[in-house]
Symmetry: C2
Subunit: 341 residues, 2 copies
Amino acid sequence: MNQIGSATLLFPRRPFVLSAASVAGKAEEAGPFGHVFDEIVEDDRLGEKTFEQGERKMLLKALTRTMTQVSLPMEEAGCLLAGDLLNQIVTASYAARELAIPYLGLYGACSTMTEALLLGAALVDGGYRRRALCAASSHFATAERQYRFPLEMGTTAPPSAQRTVTGAGAVLLGQAPLLHTGFHHIRLEAATLGRVRDLGITDANNMGAAMAPAACDTIGRHLGDRGMEVGAFDWIITGDLGTFGSRMLRELCQEAGIELGSRHLDCGAMIFSPEQKYHCGGSGCGCSAVLLAGYVLPALERGEVQRVLFLSTGALMSPLSACQGESIPGIAHAISLIHQD
Amino acid sequence: MNQIGSATLLFPRRPFVLSAASVAGKAEEAGPFGHVFDEIVEDDRLGEKTFEQGERKMLLKALTRTMTQVSLPMEEAGCLLAGDLLNQIVTASYAARELAIPYLGLYGACSTMTEALLLGAALVDGGYRRRALCAASSHFATAERQYRFPLEMGTTAPPSAQRTVTGAGAVLLGQAPLLHTGFHHIRLEAATLGRVRDLGITDANNMGAAMAPAACDTIGRHLGDRGMEVGAFDWIITGDLGTFGSRMLRELCQEAGIELGSRHLDCGAMIFSPEQKYHCGGSGCGCSAVLLAGYVLPALERGEVQRVLFLSTGALMSPLSACQGESIPGIAHAISLIHQD
């Protein structure tokens, strides 16, 4: 039985990560991790009529690739748990329409990738599904026009702004590894459910600061619930706090007696190089999804790292709630991944 | 172990329904089920500045009531699984901010209530959470201005239209019944994950027709996966197909060799009386949520019905996807509830 009072779920059968794929855009290719993505889309519309249809095609590419690279037909995915940033998560839902497999739509803003993984892990670990396909996507052009301004306006961004990553990542979980193909050494041992935290940030160009308190809260509870220290993890990776939000997270953790030190990485701070001048870095569900699929999981599979705490971080406001003067609530869900020979 | 090839999840430990609450609006009070709701809100804004803040307060009332009526503090809820119809599900997320418990945001449009219940049931049945609080809400005024037109325009509705229900429903699941309080005789035995179905309907005023194929698909698979007949259920209840969509569902099922007959009920067709002239009936996540909490669960607890298949039905389009010429994909998740002495 799990520790019930806590917000941490233990997975006694430790589901396997079987396969993962990432598809990203040109700006992401130009960043320091450009070489790790499975596919780069040359055209932001992917040959479709609209950016939204392009984003959907990008997510479908990631989902299909995750299955085909381990020679499984889509029906073998068990179910799809996915979400994105668009109103009514139309990227995920219309992608699910093409696949005709059981589908559970999620909305956790940029925390979606770990929300999908922790629910997928519970379904697989609990014996309800043999496998679960977990995914998230975001797209610079669709997010910009929905959350901020039409691209045609050429609005300039303040120094605290981050650029929404154009990218889709997908991860297949399963009860047992596949024969002769896919990953064999990555297992999901635990997860911590996020709580909504809000310190009153109202600036939609400063989302890192809005999400850092939630990340600090979840890291603290994960360590506390499991009686572990930071040193038990090679990496503690947040989703898209960016450079400013990451600094804030380290300070908040310090105040809480948690010294993250060099074990902390942030996908948003990593994905672009300073020369690209995207201010505080990358954001969006796709940011943590593509770096998890393209960089973190392969490093775990090869045994370069032994244990990773991975937290996608989400800002849960809407353009309407912002107009109505609401502050920005943040959330972060964590999963603990281990290398096992 | 569950039947893995199928889309049906079996819950061997059969989680209990411990408590449920419903809060609805004046139009819902005036309907044939007005007397079953726990609370009626007299003012659409609930004393708040905006309709959106009013909807949030309504959801919070349902959540709080579900816990207080069984004398449990909110921390004992285990986690909140919830969603609504607003962009970025701000109703659920901002409500979660007030409660400070672990939160998983869902988007299944009007299928959200059964999506929350099936995921909550898996978390409880699998031993990951002792309890789970599942909820959904919708509001006529917030949905109308987001999906259609500002109320001030006074647009007339075509005969196939449905009225979004102003209502919030919440259900608490648990591993064991509570002492001397709450429900003791309702258990969740199985669930079927929905697949996205789309027959090409593009009329946002005809959502019943867009969702009926998904409901038919899920009912057929639930019965097939479990080797059961319609007769095994006292009621097979859909969420918000409305009168037109319900007729379409019965015809689609007939073509598939499934005779629903009088065992089929639809929350959308039930919630308003014809004299209220809301055309095809009610819709919205709140529609199935309030009738589940206020009518179906009490009937199961009293043993008036022994087994119910309950399917909330969702239309997964967005205003943007509609403008871009996309058809409306539908989805329906099913849960099987039994009375047990």
